[in-house]
């Protein structure tokens, strides 16, 4: 038996898990190898230390918890919740997730408010333009002036309001 193989089997040799022929081969190698003797001595010491530790009973709820987690893994929603819980256990991931949720909730509210303010800004222009189109049926209306009013309202709706007048 070469040295590398003997080193890999030292732990099994100590625990008496090898076949009789393997035991003989390891024994023969250890007898002639100082490094393996040292390694075997160290392993024996660790085994002795572990053997002196007291035996502990597992908590009673351990199995029920394991079973519950196994059952939740079958439900997609539960899996998502579990993923989220896992994410929240990491502060950076939790912060990013909170930011995304905040943006998703706040964006429509902010847009609604902006639309409302923009509507107030252009509302009267839209009213004048719509009325001007409807007023075309008036036989006394001046077409050229309708064109001017509609043109000005169009510019305001396009965001480029013209300031009429020649001063007070």
């Amino acid at each position: 038996m070469n040295h590398a193989r003997a080193v890999r089997q030292l732990s099994a040799y100590l625990d008496e898990e090898l076949s009789p022929s393997e035991i003989r081969a390891v024994h023969a190698h250890v007898a002639g190898c100082e490094a393996c003797r040292d390694e075997l001595a160290a392993l024996r010491q660790v085994k002795d230390l572990l053997g002196r530790l007291p035996e502990m009973e597992p908590p009673a709820e351990l199995w029920s918890g394991v079973r519950a987690r196994a059952e939740r893994a079958h439900h997609p929603a539960a899996a998502v919740l579990e993923t989220l819980r896992a994410a929240f256990r990491r502060p950076a991931a939790a912060a990013v997730a909170a930011m995304v949720v905040l943006i998703l909730v706040a964006a429509p509210l902010v847009k609604g408010r902006l639309d409302r303010l923009q509507a107030a800004d252009i509302g009267v222009d839209l009213y004048v333009r719509e009325h001007a189109v409807q007023a075309a049926a008036d036989p006394f209306v001046d077409r050229a002036y309708l064109g001017l009013l509609i043109g000005d309202a169009n510019l305001a709706l396009a965001g480029a309001r013209r300031v009429p007048g020649e001063g007070p």
């Binding site: 252009i122 839209l126 075309a136 036989p139 209306v141 077409r143 064109g147 510019l155």
Partner: protein, 356 residues
């Protein structure tokens, strides 16, 4: 032979007498003609001149320079425009001054109106606003609803016009129209407020009538690279109040009558996220439009000056030819727009409040 000579002499004498009679009659006829020319021609009736005016859009092409002066609150503005019109309902407007509008071009082909703003290199396309059909039969309706009178005859830019005075009821604006007697084209318009102050003047400083303006003048050619926006904000018109309510999707006030105006049609105007229900009322001639927009969709527009309606404070804006009244009540922004004085808008607002 003697008898023949006597007959010849008698014939010559008759010829001389005939010539004498003719010579005597010519001055008399000439004098009569001169008298007929100098005698004042009868001024056409208001109904006749209205019929001529209402038939003009289907009969007359013209091209001229128009000057429009308006008072918008405390500001006055004079706009000069090259205006060309072709039957039936095609219009070309080239704005010359003031500088803020100079270069603007509007071409209306009867289906769509194209506006080009050279300073922005921008084209805006929207619905046509030109009515090109002849409606002389409406003269009777106008005569019934308006006080129309012929104020006389005047020459405007060398053409004979008949001056018409129009007063829509007891509360409307007073208008005067100088109508070209031969063509029916309105060469000058004046509008006065209830105090008698002129608030709107429009007149041609020159005009040429042509029987056939080239169609190419009324076709819009889009400038290369210009940005194009389509502003067809008017929704499809409905003539049923219930259908308009259904389309608006919110509770809106639509009385069948508003002062002397009756409900004509309505629509939901939409521009981006902004939507407003509009109801148009007419007295058979002019129109007033009521807009209703939920306050959740539109903040209150702080425009113009503060006035008071029966329901509380409102804002009043004079845009020259049209006036706008805006107020808020029960979660709705109301707006009234029309070519009517402020007092009429306030009265209409009060009536709308009662109808809710």
């Amino acid at each position: 032979m003697i008898a023949k000579l006597a007959k010849a002499r008698q014939g010559r004498r008759r010829g001389v007498i005939a010539w004498a009679v003719v010579c005597a009659l010519i001055p008399a006829v000439l004098v009569g003609t001169v008298d007929a020319r100098s005698a004042p021609r009868p001024v056409p009736s208001a109904a006749d001149i209205l019929r001529t005016m209402l038939a003009a859009p289907a009969r007359i092409d013209y091209e001229g320079t128009k000057v429009i002066s308006t008072v918008r609150g405390a500001r006055a503005e004079t706009v000069t425009i090259l205006e060309a019109y072709k039957r039936l309902g095609r219009l070309r407007l080239e704005f010359l001054s003031p500088e803020s509008v100079s270069g603007r071009l509007i071409v209306d082909d009867g289906l769509s109106a194209w506006q080009y703003e050279p300073s922005l290199h921008l084209v805006v396309r929207g619905p046509s606003f030109v009515q090109g059909t002849a409606r002389p039969e409406r003269a009777g309706e106008i005569m019934r609803r308006y006080r129309v009178e012929v104020l006389g005859r005047e020459a405007v830019i060398g053409r004979e016009t008949v001056v018409l005075g129009l007063a829509p009821g007891e509360t409307g604006s007073n208008r005067r129209l100088w109508v070209d007697e031969a063509t029916g084209v309105v060469l000058r318009t004046e509008e006065r407020d209830p105090q008698g102050e002129i608030v709107y003047v429009s007149y041609f400083s020159r005009i040429s009538y042509s029987l056939n303006l080239p169609p190419a003048l009324f076709r819009f050619r889009q400038p290369a690279g210009a940005k194009v926006l389509s502003f067809y904000v008017s929704g499809e018109a409905v003539t049923s109040v219930d259908e308009l309510r259904r389309r608006a999707g919110t509770k809106i006030a639509i009385p069948a009558r508003l002062l002397r105006y009756t409900f004509r049609d309505g629509r939901v105007a939409q521009h981006g996220a902004f939507a407003s229900a509009s109801a148009t009322y007419t007295d058979g001639v002019s129109v007033v439009t009521v807009f209703q927009t939920p306050t959740s969709r539109m903040a209150f527009p702080n425009v113009g000056e503060t006035v008071t309606t029966r329901e509380g404070p409102a804002r009043y804006l004079d845009v020259g030819y049209f006036r706008v009244l805006v107020w808020q009540r029960a979660g709705t922004n109301f707006a009234l727009v029309g070519n009517v004085p402020q007092a009429v808008l306030l009265a209409a607002a009060d009536e709308l409040a009662v109808s809710r």
